[in-house]
Symmetry: C2
Subunit: 383 residues, 2 copies
């Protein structure tokens, strides 16, 4: 039995204290920078536009020569000398200061009739109007999206500095595990899938995952695997977290901060450190592992990666009661159907099919005995 059980939120706070956002920088090419976080402010090397340009199709004119033009009585301009045809985006010729819109004009042989009096700079995009040289375009900590990439491209910035992705080692442990792509498991064996699941989530949440080979239940070998991963920013040990004879994972850490959480599924989760790196010991049961990934690993990876934001949520009405164990934070899988959240009944932490059929989860707080049918709940959507 666990000697003492702790709140998952307390464990999360302790874990995050050991997760310092990565400060190492690296260079990245613009077209591969999506999702990356800037490690420095980006300063524009140029004015954008770099010259005064036409904002409309029409004629470059001298505004003073259009005075008096109106729909009933045009001003007359000589084509080629007083009015030069111009396309949107083209530079305003020297000596001209405005654009007469095509819609406000009529060309008759070598004359252009201007049916509007255009003011200086009218329909002209001034140099530096979008971005001026030396200004801060994007700030340190900004996460790159496609529109940001287009902006930097327009400024000719095609390589720049970002924070290195946090490196997350994932070490599956357990003598009963066989590789996913190997022979069929014998009775008593199981395919290793939690490591793959963790890898895919870590990548989705902004980390670079390193999935290591399966380590047998041997304290020495587990410690060796930890040592080999000590250069990573976060280490996940999968399996062997309970209190059985062969559950060596928590004992292999340098410092065990929490072992046994008031969380269901997910009670055997442990957190601690190895070589001053934060370590999460994930339970071997797949659904319990999923819970620990969402409640502990997700905030840890996000923090290391300089990213914010919890899981996306939507509000829904509970279609049936959710029972829960008082004192425990309960992670209840639900499927969504319109505005209704249906709790998915399942008998255990091993029932992975219950997660596959779920759209998200509801967290029942420790101090409640469950949630009533008809109540409003916040559903965290599975990513």
């Amino acid at each position: 039995m666990f000697r003492e059980l702790s709140s998952v939120y307390e464990a999360e706070r302790a874990l995050l204290e050991f997760c310092r956002p990565v400060t190492i920088e690296e260079e990245v090419d613009l077209d591969r920078s999506i999702g990356r976080v800037l490690s420095r402010d980006i300063i524009s090397p140029i004015d954008l536009p770099s010259f005064d340009r036409a904002a409309m199709d029409g004629y470059a004119v001298r505004s003073a020569e259009t005075v008096g033009g109106n729909p009933l009585s045009p001003a007359y301009l000589e084509l080629g000398r007083q009015a030069l045809p111009i396309r949107t985006g083209a530079p305003i010729p020297v000596g001209f200061d405005a654009v007469l819109m095509k819609e406000d004009s009529l060309m008759r042989e070598d004359l252009v009739e201007a049916f509007a009096h255009v003011h200086p700079s009218r329909n002209v995009a001034r140099a530096g109007e979008d971005v001026s040289i030396g200004s801060t375009v994007l700030s340190k900590g900004h996460r790159m999206r496609p529109a940001d990439i287009a902006l930097l491209g327009a400024l000719g910035i095609i390589r720049f500095n970002v924070f290195r992705l946090p490196r997350v080692a994932i070490i599956p442990t357990g003598g009963e595990l066989v590789p996913l792509d190997g022979a069929s498991p014998l009775p008593g064996q199981a395919r290793e899938v939690n490591g793959l699941m963790a890898r895919l989530y870590v990548e989705m949440w902004g980390g670079e995952a390193r999935l290591e080979g399966i380590v047998p239940d041997d304290p020495e070998l587990i410690r060796s695997a930890l040592e080999a991963s000590a250069g990573c920013d976060l280490i996940l040990l999968s399996g062997g977290t309970s209190i059985g004879d062969k559950d060596y994972a928590p004992g292999a850490l340098d410092r065990l901060l929490y072992h046994g959480l008031l969380l269901t599924p997910g009670k055997p989760t442990a957190i601690g450190t190895f070589a001053d790196r934060p370590v999460v010991c994930l339970p071997g049961y797949p659904v319990a592992a999923l819970v620990a990934l969402y409640l502990l690993v997700r905030p840890a990876v996000k923090r290391l990666a300089h990213l914010q934001g919890g899981t996306p949520t939507i509000k829904a009405t509970l279609s049936r009661k959710i029972a829960s164990r008082p004192g425990y934070t309960t992670f209840s899988r639900v499927s969504l159907d319109g505005g209704l959240a249906h709790p998915i009944m399942s008998t255990g932490a091993g029932i992975l099919s219950s997660a596959a059929h779920a759209d998200g989860f509801v967290l029942v707080p420790e101090d409640l005995e469950g949630l009533d049918a008809g109540g409003a709940v916040e559903v965290h959507l599975f990513e």
Copy 2:
């Protein structure tokens, strides 16, 4: 001037009629299947677990032999004959039918004291309890998430069928454009960035993007580029959509459905077909292109890819008034600060920096003249 302007929603409906979800299938490896959409139901080839197994650490027992065991007066079992040590996940030995939890037992030399009467199947995960052989595990149309991948891995399904990704051709047009990685643009030239922006969004929304080389303003060359892309499921022509002398993009289509939308920015957007493929002509101004991407290309790609879901939204309170042009759907960029949405003032569709500073956008409906400060708005978050 445009002869007739149409609602963006009407144009979207027409576009989606030409976007048929891709029916071609391909095989994918399990560990590369994230985000892919199943083209067939997945049927389990095995029971999971494949054998009766222990759900707890303890002793395999015959339930009948524990009758009468309780915390004050244990039942006595002979170690090795009536009680076999067993770990979570291990097969239940033949002839045994339940697991006595370690916590409910005490071992004294060759005797195990059972402080509980365990019922048949107690603490046993039955073969097929999670997934039974022949049952449907995941249905056609399901989008693969990490937990689904773990489930299929546990079943030994490491290769399966998905719908091919929709292929989206992106053709930048315009004699003023220079490649992003080439020499600095001369006055009158600009770096091609809208194509890259479109490519990154298409990939994010679930398509396979093919960014073609820049095509000059020449009707023949534009048509040739369209012909070369006729094998794609959707074609995006970028630039040359207005009504100037060199705006050849809409004219190059086989069938022009809409040209000129009641949308600001984004009015010069056009939609139509070429070789029976849907085509969107994106305006050359970057922000107008962004608007057309979000309001037309996003739903088109999602539909082709069998995916649902609009942009993620959050509710916020408007900090300042948004002015808008009655009759037009207005796309207003906002930045978020706690629960407040601040409209980003900008003078034109070319101001890409306004999008880079925005967290999302608010759509002002056609029938309103704007939105008042203090009002509740739905902010669509930029991805």
